[in-house]
Amino acid sequence: MPPRQLHEQIPGLRRYARALTGNTWAADDLVQDTLERACSKWRLWLAGSDLRAWLFTIMHNIHASEVRKLVRQQQLAPTGPWEDEAQQVAEATSDNDIRLDLQRCLMQLPEDQRSVLLLVVLEDMSYADVARITSAPLGTVMSRLSRARSRLQTLMNAPAKAGPSSASAGADIVPLHRSR
């Protein structure tokens, strides 16, 4: 595997991981685990095949098993770890406010729906590729996509903001715990 090809994939992997986990540090940990797993299994990668899809498959599997572990430990808070993100952008602008809101809603989607939606929209992957990456039948992918879109729309339309925070209130500190 030409190293350059692998390096080119890192920014994309980081962005997807960020949206998937809602947390900067968890995202980079996930990327690191993915790169290390890819490194130990690189012989399984067929030269000339789609490196990006292969890496996303590895990342999907690692993340799915981590989530299962977390669920077992019952530490998966329903709000998710996005508060960390909020802290980082406390000096936020309205752009960040919108981004945070979208990320918060995303974190409320079930894991399998969120990953399908992000692979399709953020990564612009074909439905068939998404099915392969998540090892689910195409029909399941499509129904997860439907449920993700409907649910996200409902969450986005809900009056999520506690304060009068709007596009004009960009200099406000982003509240760390929003009531819904």
């Binding site: 920014p11 962005r15 490194c39 074909s126």
Partner: protein, 259 residues
């Protein structure tokens, strides 16, 4: 319906689906909502793509190449990666502060800053793209213009920069904070790319100024000229010398400003 939202239909399929959606307003409405949802998602964490990759991740990735290519390759790539990271870092830190704390008083200026910043980000993301620099290529120019005009809600025109040596590659639709934005990409024979970023700007004319003012912005290696004309904001961005970019901006302005 998903294929419609994700714009993955052939022209014939598109026709059939849109005919169907036309008969089912509720579905049509939902599809539109999904599409704007997708537009919003597509810009989520876009900045991560531009951040320098943390050193520990580069190291993890280097281990693969070590296995296969041996130490010499490792050192060579290490140096290259470091310089890439450095170049990214320089670009990143070299950027002007984007959102000063007390910007709210200057809505109009902030708006322009946001606009040109988004234009610059869009340029940085898509101009180096090899496989998908544009969403719709210039081969379908009529469709491109019609589509983007529809999504921006007003008639758009594409300037012809062939006299300046730049040929239209195509364009794409992007979400901006006040609505849809269009990006047109041009390339010269040397492979240099410039992008014209266009969007409706609502709050830009309270000054009552009749003269269009070209404003210059320098973001790392990319430079932009931006201006507002007839309710549209324009930003022309490229890694060009200021004078060259100015000449191109004037060409764009004079072509698009003509009735």
């Amino acid at each position: 319906m998903h294929a419609w939202v994700d714009e993955r239909l052939t022209p014939e399929q598109l026709h059939a689906v849109e005919a169907q959606l036309g008969q089912h307003p509720a579905q049509h409405n939902e599809a539109l909502q999904w599409r704007s949802q997708a537009d919003a998602l597509r810009v989520l964490h876009l900045d991560v793509l531009q951040e320098p990759v943390p050193a520990h991740l580069l190291e993890s990735a280097q281990r693969i190449s070590t296995y296969r290519h041996g130490v010499r390759q490792w050192t060579r790539w290490g140096g290259m990666a470091a310089s890439v990271a450095l170049a990214f870092a320089c670009g990143w830190w070299g950027r002007p502060a984007l959102f000063p704390d007390n910007e709210l008083a200057q809505t109009s200026r902030a708006l322009n800053k946001g606009f040109v910043q988004q234009a610059s980000t869009a340029h940085a993301v898509y101009a180096p793209e090899v496989r998908h620099p544009v969403e719709v290529t210039s081969a379908e120019q009529a469709h491109l213009v019609q589509w983007l005009s529809k999504r921006l809600g007003r008639p758009l025109r594409v300037p012809d920069l062939s006299a300046q040596g730049y040929v239209l590659m195509g364009g794409r639709l992007l979400p901006g904070d006040t609505g849809a934005r269009a990006q047109f990409m041009f390339q010269n024979t040397g492979g240099a790319r410039i992008t014209l970023y266009v969007g409706g700007v609502t709050d830009a004319s309270p000054k009552g100024s009749q003269d269009t003012v070209f404003q210059f912005s320098n973001q790392g290696s990319n430079r932009s000229f931006y201006w507002v004309d007839h309710g549209f904001g324009y930003a022309l961005t490229g890694a060009l010398e200021r004078q060259e970019l100015m000449a191109l901006s004037e060409a764009v302005y004079s072509q698009l400003g003509a009735p």
